[in-house]
Symmetry: C2
Subunit: 106 residues, 2 copies
DNA sequence: TTAATAGTTCACAAATATATGAACTAATAA
DNA sequence: TTATTAGTTCATATATTTGTGAACTATTAA
């Protein structure tokens, strides 16, 4: 496999982190498995929209689904996703702080 | 700041990882500082395109730029970005392997 | 001053992602 | 059987990203 192809696959899975609703879902599922309706109740918004985002995340291997009766239970496929997500949040917070410091000097 | 606003900022910085060229740049800069022309030579493509991607990454606080003479030297702003990136690559590789295993059973 | 190098910025076209509501399916309950 | 719950899928409108080439700016060299 060429490097370029690796970068594409790598970027593709990283895209899962690039939407507020998907970040929120990762946040919610960090230490629990929840069914669709529970997630929807927490995040708000349209069910069709959430369903599509969960579907993308599942297809990309970020989430697992488990069907039980009429409910679909979602969970994180790997703790590594959560770790990566937390690291990026730290970077964001650090940038936020350094911007605030900079603004304070004006 | 509301949770939703945090998720937006978080997702926004994660978007930096969601493009093959930007992943390649992070890869290249993982242990060195390089100027624009060097990066362009490695990645290929149009200079305007690379310039715009580097600009986005810098604005989002993923990269640092240092001007020296006529050259712009780029480097990673934080090792945490690299760590996050590596974790996501591991997830991607694990998924790739498990897909291959699944295909082998057919 | 003129030319060359090293990039950035801009305008616009094309591609991709996102949101929305309606229609649909599958499982359970009445 | 009929209704209800729990979601998925689809079509389509809108928004955002991305790629491209031309024009531009800043620094150094001749």
């Amino acid at each position: 496999m060429t490097d370029k192809k690796i970068f594409e696959l790598h970027a593709d899975i990283c895209k899962s982190l690039g939407h507020p609703l998907r970040i929120e879902v990762i946040d919610i599922l960090q230490d629990q498995e929840l069914c669709f309706t529970d997630i929807l109740e927490i995040t708000g918004g349209l069910k069709s929209n959430l369903s599509q985002h969960l579907s993308v995340m599942t297809t990309k291997g970020i989430l697992r689904v488990r069907r039980e009766g009429q409910c679909n239970y979602f969970s994180l496929a790997s703790k590594k996703v959560l770790q990566a997500c937390k690291l990026m949040r730290e970077v964001m917070i650090e940038n936020l702080k350094s911007n605030q410091k900079f603004l304070a000097t004006l």
